[in-house]
Amino acid sequence: MKSWKKRWQEELDAAVPALKDEVLNEPIPTCDRAQTVAFAPASEPWYKKLFATPQRIASFAAACVVCVATVGASAYLFRPTAPLTVEQEVISVEVNPQAVFTVDKEGKVTAVAAVNQDADVVLAEERYLEMQGKSVQEAVEIFVDYTAKLGYLDLNTPDAVRITSCVENGWLDKVGDALENYFCGKGAYIAVAAETVGLDAFCQRVNMEVCDSVQSLKSSVERIPALTFLRETGEKTAEELQQIYAQTVPLEEVKGIFRSTLSAVEKRVEDYLAISELSDDIRYHEDNNFGLLGFGKDYWSILDKEIPDTMSALMTEMAERLLAYEESCGVKIDSLDTLAVEGVKCSASALATVLKSLSDSLLSTSLDLLSKNFQAVSVLLKSFDIDTTLLEELLELPETVEAYYQKVNEYTKERFALLQETAREGYEAVREEISASNYAEYIAGLEREYGSLSEYFKNL
């Protein structure tokens, strides 16, 4: 009998319909045509749809009321500018993570690409897809919001972001307004330095090869992978890939994780030895006569006894140390037997010494050597029930491009989660919204002090 998996696959083959001719014959759009298709109006005239039913007429009336109110409220934020006629634009946003956004004539983002590794963390896990197709104001706001969530941008401290365009009279002012509005809403004193520069200077700013036109720059950005680590890994040997990997995943960071893992082991051994010693002090104390023929009993056996004053300090210290041990290591020592079991794990005062000397030598070496020797250390760490999965994954050097992508992807994912957790409190801190006039006053002060917001950005 066939396996159910095989049967399922066959069943799916039979169930899946053939593609209709209209799908097969639909022309494949080029970049420009694709935008036309994506944002083209519906085939039926809009007014027919709008007034098709009484509900739609009512909705339309309600929408009109909302529009009138919104237009009034937006009048300040979206101050009138010259009509936008640019066919395409490329905008760079620098928070420290730096990303570049390509924009079509409708003001929609057609592509987002990271300029540096910090931006990889922001845009990884397909987050760049969230920004594509949105208005450039919305897309940039989403990007900046992520940088704040990850702590790259501290909303509680005065700071600045820089936005740069390579075309005059494009969408830059609107992006600037949207960001200012975002920062006011978040109660963050963060300035937005907006600059329009020439194409050559722009290309340099976003680490792209100099292009001869905005169109070709836009096409280049649209063609490259969104994340920096996905670029330039074409035909590479395993050794070359590993070198790139070591640069992408900072060695110091891996060592940092390694160090903190090892110091957790060292502390555990140290704490265990103190408890063990204290246990002996109690058991063999001259006033411990609770056992047969006046011999001493262990700490746990005399907990319900009347303890002589001479032993009470030792008993209190033992109780505190056991509690602290349970909290830090998750191991409850509640009898002489469990102390002995823990002792087998930690019989490793010698082991700890070996570990330390081993780690000292490993930490002074390259990621490659650290990786090759990690298996031995991993066995020791696992004997302490320490989860070494992350370290193992980071230290296993990739042999193929796919493995490289997967590992760096894992790394950026871990980093995203770690940064988000670390920055959560700061991001969620309650801040009072800043009024438009107060914000404008604050910005004017910066401009007086530094000459311009660009200068302020450079001085940070």
Partner: protein
């Protein structure tokens, strides 16, 4: 199908190669169909969604970034489409009842797709589909669904147990 091969196909499509598009369909149709089925639970809507999903893939090909996760990109398009369609349908007044019950094939056995729908939750169906049809690893599925790997592993095991038991109960 390996991600790299899929990536190459998408790059060819972006360059205007319609034959690559047809090949993409042949090589991914089972996975996309079974993935969409977990949203619609019936063949008619899934079949319509299949056409729209591949149309969206073609129209949106310029948004694919060469070298990125091609499978995830395709599934993202399928998922967005499914959610939009479901949202649209929830606003519409139903004109006819859709039969969501399991169907019997010629041999009198429940078809596996419907059997899965009957005994597994939506999330379990998605996990089994991604693992069995798309050959995704549990860790990758966990990333996609935003749940811990352990959850995917345990749900997958539980799903397989449920399916095995259901097979035993078949007439």
């Amino acid at each position: 199908m390996k991600g790299k091969e899929l990536d190459k196909l998408l790059v060819r499509i972006a360059a205007g190669d319609n034959a690559a598009f047809e090949e993409l369909y042949v090589r991914t149709k089972r996975g996309v169909y079974s993935f969409l089925y977990t949203y619609f639970h019936n063949a008619a809507d899934t079949e319509d969604a299949m056409q729209s999903a591949y149309l969206n893939i073609k129209r949106g090909i310029h948004t694919y970034r060469p070298g990125s996760n091609a499978l995830a990109w395709i599934l993202q398009i399928a998922k967005n489409l499914a959610l939009n369609e479901i949202k649209k349908k929830s606003r519409e007044v139903p004109t006819e009842e859709i039969d969501l019950g399991a169907t019997l094939n010629e041999g009198g056995r429940y078809e596996i797709t419907d059997l899965m729908q009957r005994v597994l939750t939506e999330e379990e169906q998605r996990i089994v589909t991604l693992h069995v049809v798309w050959n995704y690893k549990h860790r990758e599925i966990a990333e996609m669904l935003g749940v811990p790997t352990g959850t995917v592993t345990s749900k997958y095991k539980r799903s397989i147990e449920k399916l095995k038991n259901a097979f035993k109960e078949e007439p």
